[in-house]
């Protein structure tokens, strides 16, 4: 059995040392080692986007990254974007636009949407839809999710 690797992750601004086996995904490291349960395990195969986090400024799938690959990285999860009473503008917009039902895909949707706005590649609604195609919502709230992202992107929520 391969010995554990000592790695350092800065998660939501807090630098932490972890001891992980090579095969532990970033997702499992966040959920099981750091007890950050906001990031969700949907398919665990990179198809649904529920595990999306922002790693060194880019949205990635935490299920398809090994934690050891991200040694030294800065990671933002849904817990780092906002908290009750101090929500991120996109979290506010999700409430306002009724952009979820069961809520399971929501942390991934919001991390993905925040990164999409930051990237600046999408101008039109069509382009936002295309660049949100990696986040599936089985409840079918997609229309409202795009509404929420458009509202924040266009400055309705500051």
């Amino acid at each position: 059995m391969s010995s554990p690797h000592q790695i350092q992750l800065t998660v939501n601004g807090k630098t932490q040392q972890l001891s992980v086996r090579p095969w532990v995904s970033l997702l499992d490291a966040l959920r099981h080692h750091l007890h950050l349960h906001g990031t969700k395990k949907g398919c665990d195969h990179g198809q649904c986007g529920a595990c999306t986090v922002i790693c060194d400024g880019e949205r990635v799938l935490s299920c398809l990254n090994l934690a050891v690959m991200k040694d030294g990285s800065e990671i933002t999860t849904i817990e780092g974007l906002g908290q009750p009473g101090n929500l991120h503008p996109l979290q506010e917009a999700f409430l306002e636009h009724d952009a979820y039902q069961c809520g399971y895909c929501t942390p991934g949707q919001i991390c993905s949407g925040v990164a999409l706005i930051e990237e600046g590649h999408a101008t039109t609604r069509e382009e936002v839809k295309e660049l949100m195609s990696g986040n599936l919502c089985r409840c079918g709230a997609n229309t409202n999710i795009i509404d929420a992202i458009m509202a924040v992107k266009d400055g309705a929520h500051e």
Partner: protein
């Protein structure tokens, strides 16, 4: 899923040395390899993580006017690179037609070339599959074969190469620069992927332990007239049923001087027929001319129960791509074709 060892390297020579040995694999973005490992289809003894090799993360100008894309540059960084967008917009658009932003942020250029087929039977460890277990059989021939090959398939295998990016790289006549225990060599893109024949377990001609260093683009980028037309079963985040990467250059009289057409979703490698492209030289672009080229490109095509429609579909897609290439400005990512 098996347990494995992990080693992070910071230079190419150490990487090649570390990967030498049965069961060792290079690890780039991991988007396909880690998934295959989770499905119990890949069983690495050791993963050699390349992400510390900074020299493979650069996009650099080449003296011949071409552009070198480092093997570890991500698909997204490549697609949005200003030089790629300006001089090789066909490549940029093609990359953005594949996968999702999250996957493209991790997937590397080298890894894109090495991704495995998405044949349903290859991915089902309980099924026979000649690509996964040579000699075990091919259930796709008589089974679900909608995404499968209509050109260049063999008795042993009818799988397709799933990459979008590679279809554009074939049309651009890129070169793959690799290094292995025997040193460095350059592989023309047309010779990188292979047809299945009797050895479907081999997707490409990369030697054992050879590492892709870069993908080198020649100067000609078809920036004025090009398109990537991808036809798929949903509007986004799906593999191509049929795709066409097409580019041409015109002379002062509006006649084609050089044309390239590569097809995706139809074979075990991006499908090109230089003789079909030659038919277009000296002609003004028109539906009839692209139909002639399509005839030549699809010569010998044969389908299976669920994919014979792709022969007609590919023919029409080539004609449509020819028309779309005339005005690439209508092809923003996410935009619907205006024709």
């Amino acid at each position: 899923m098996n347990n494995f060892h992990y080693e992070r390297v910071t230079d190419v020579d150490t990487a090649v040395a570390a990967a030498t040995g049965a069961g060792n694999s290079y690890l780039g973005g991991g988007t396909n390899l880690i998934d295959l490992w989770k499905y119990d289809l890949a069983h690495p003894e050791k993963l050699v993580d390349l992400n510390g090799i900074d020299e493979l993360k650069e996009v650099t100008e080449l003296p011949d006017g071409g552009l070198r894309l480092g093997a570890l540059v991500t698909n997204n960084k490549t697609a949005y690179h200003p030089t790629v967008q300006e001089r090789y917009p066909l490549l940029s658009r093609t990359i953005l037609a594949g996968a999702t932003p999250q996957i493209r942020n991790a997937a590397t250029n080298g890894g894109n070339l090495l991704q495995r087929t998405r044949c349903y039977y290859f991915y089902d460890a309980a099924s026979p599959c000649n690509k996964r277990v040579p000699g075990s059989g091919c259930p796709a021939r008589e089974g679900h074969n909608r995404l499968h090959a209509i050109l260049g398939h063999s008795e042993a295998c009818i799988a397709t190469m799933p990459s979008d990016m590679c279809v554009a790289l074939a049309a651009l006549e890129a070169t793959v620069r690799v290094r292995g225990p025997q040193g460095e060599r350059h592989i023309p893109f047309a010779d990188f992927h292979r047809l299945p024949g009797e050895k479907p377990e081999l997707d490409n001609t990369l030697g054992e332990d050879e590492l892709i260093l870069s993908i080198d683009l020649p100067a000609r980028g078809f920036a004025d007239h090009h398109t990537y037309l991808k036809l798929r079963d949903r509007h986004s985040y799906a593999f191509a049923v049929v795709s066409v990467a097409l580019g041409y250059e015109l002379d002062g009289e509006g006649k084609i001087t050089t044309a390239r057409i590569a097809l995706g979703g139809v074979a075990h490698k991006p499908w090109r027929v230089p003789a079909a492209e030659e038919l277009l030289v000296g002609q003004a672009p028109s539906e009839d001319q692209f139909a002639r080229a399509a005839d030549a490109l699809l010569e010998g095509a044969s389908g299976f129960k669920h994919n014979t429609f792709k022969i007609d579909l590919a023919h029409r897609a080539i004609i449509r791509a020819g028309a779309m290439a005339h005005d690439p400005s209508c092809q923003r990512p996410g935009a619907k074709p205006s024709l």
